[in-house]
């Protein structure tokens, strides 16, 4: 694709940086949807973004916002606002942890699909998020919310030997996945230290190209004992395991042709995600042909 001509992709919002990653008066180059961007932070803290077009001209981006500690942009005409995450404003004493940004040579959609995949825990995250002897995936439900703009997998549960940095003994963990847009997913996980409350872990994936992306991530969790470093190390260990899988997946774009799949019941969320992406008309990062 020479110039991104995918209106569905262009009109969406994407995170391109965490606010504190860019010092006052500094700028950095990045890519979004195969396009070259220059992100600048003014001395007064405001962000600006230049879109460097292929004809040598540069155009300032109209749609640029700060929300949840991240910088968001849209290259097109956004048809809706940046997603609402109520748990950022509900007054609960959750900690916010910026979990950094990690490059992955894969489509953003591959990263999202792996994020909400349940049945890999026992084999990829053995000893933390799953174990060989408890690999069964109990049934869960798939729901469409916000007039079909969001996809949820609810009532998920899994036995996890060490579900988080704060976890002590192995436990059955309950959670919901929210896929708020093709490149954004949030897990709402039962807090192990505050019964009845949810911990949040979110991925804002920046589709740099069709086959490479940057994963921006945050956690908003009840944890009064572990240091930021400890929580980050736990996350990095988990993500490094996922990354090993992601770098080997072919094609790098996510296949959405129905005949490409041989799903099991535990893959209901993956199947729903692929059908949902297919119906959305999105092209970028998807493999629509049977390969």
């Amino acid at each position: 694709m020479n110039v991104c001509d995918d209106p569905v992709a262009l009109n969406d919002w994407y995170v391109v940086a965490y606010v504190d990653e860019l010092g006052l008066g500094k700028s950095e180059q990045t890519q979004l949807l195969g396009e070259e961007l220059e992100l600048m932070r003014e001395r007064d803290g405001r962000f600006r973004c230049l879109w460097h077009k292929r004809d040598g001209t540069a155009e300032p981006l109209e749609h640029i916002r700060q929300r949840y500690g991240f910088v968001w942009v849209s290259l097109g005409r956004p048809t809706r606002d940046i997603l609402t995450i109520a748990e950022f404003d509900d007054g609960e004493p959750r900690r916010f942890i910026h979990r950094g940004r990690i490059g992955v040579p894969s489509s953003a959609q591959r990263v999202i699909e792996n994020f909400f995949d349940l049945s890999h825990f026992s084999f990829v995250h053995t000893g933390t998020l799953g174990g060989y002897d408890a690999a069964e995936v109990p049934p869960y439900r798939v729901e469409y919310r916000e007039d079909g703009r969001e996809l949820w997998a609810v009532g998920c549960s899994f036995f996890q030997p060490k579900a988080s940095a704060a976890a002590g003994l192995g436990t059955q963990v309950y959670y919901d996945y929210r896929i708020a847009s093709p490149c954004i997913a949030i897990i709402y996980k039962d807090s192990l230290v505050r019964p009845g409350k949810k911990d949040l872990i979110g991925l804002f994936v920046q589709p740099c190209g069709e086959e490479h992306c940057t994963v921006h991530s945050f956690a908003r969790v009840f944890d009064e004992t572990n240091s930021d470093e400890h929580i980050l190390h736990f996350y990095h260990e988990i993500f490094a395991q996922d990354r090993m899988i992601l770098v080997h997946q072919r094609p790098r774009k996510l296949p959405v042709h129905p005949r490409q799949e041989v799903p099991a019941a535990s893959d209901a969320s993956s199947v729903a995600y692929r059908r949902w992406l297919d119906r959305s008309g999105l092209q970028f990062g998807l493999e629509r042909n049977l390969t």
Binding site: A17, K26, S27, E28, Q29, T30, Q31, E38, R101, I102, G103, V104, P105, D117, L118, S119, H120, S122, F123, V124, Y132, A135, E136, V137, Q206, C208, H212, C213, T214, I245, H248, R250, V262, A264, A265, S266
Partner: protein, 196 residues
């Protein structure tokens, strides 16, 4: 990629287990269920020879290439170039000045794999590795993988001293570095963010 269990080959992603008939016979996410008939991978004929497993993608009547007797595997390493380009690197590195079958001098002992006599081309490369009084005949087997990359399987003539084995390993790493340096201008997937 996967590990061999009692009843088949286990995929490292979701633990699906495939029997010798290529049919999935166990899905750990549903231990009580029967895997769908469509959960079947494509089988390829395979034979074991010289310590390697050889696979034919289509023509099953073709025998694996014959290697010299007494050759033993040393190390396999992924190379970020196609098999054709690897052969080019190899021969260029070995023959850059004096032509075919010539000794190539290198001031860096780490690139000792290049200080070798090379003949052949294509998927099997033969050569003699020489360093510090040691001389070892070796074979490089090129396995085309995907996306313009390949796996290089290095095997050498027995008896192989620990010193020679270590030297060959270092030489292989040096070759890999040499190739990585030469292809450095090609896309690398790092952070995708470049500070200016």
């Amino acid at each position: 990629m996967g590990d061999v269990a009692e009843k088949g080959l286990v995929c490292p992603y979701h633990g699906w287990r495939f029997g010798g008939d290529a049919q999935c016979n166990f899905i750990p996410a549903h231990p009580g269920g029967t895997p769908p008939a469509a959960a079947r991978v494509r089988p390829y004929p395979a034979v074991e020879r010289n310590g390697y497993i050889w696979v034919a993608r289509q023509d099953t009547s073709v025998e694996p290439p014959s290697l010299p007797a007494g050759v033993t595997p040393v190390r396999s390493m992924h190379m970020p170039v196609s098999g054709e380009r690897l052969a080019g690197f190899w021969t260029r590195a070995c023959l850059h000045a004096t032509g075919r079958f010539s000794r190539v001098e290198s001031s860096c002992p780490e690139t000792a794999l290049f200080q070798s006599y090379v003949e052949g081309s294509g998927s099997i490369l033969h050569g003699k590795w020489q360093s510090a009084g040691l001389g070892v005949d070796y074979v490089g087997i090129v396995q085309p993988t995907h996306g313009g990359t390949c796996m290089l399987h290095l095997a050498a003539q027995e008896p192989l001293s620990a010193e020679a084995r270590l030297g060959l390993n270092r030489a292989l790493v040096a070759l890999r570095h040499e190739i990585s340096r030469s292809t450095a201008c090609e896309p690398k997937w790092g952070m995708n963010h470049e500070c200016v």
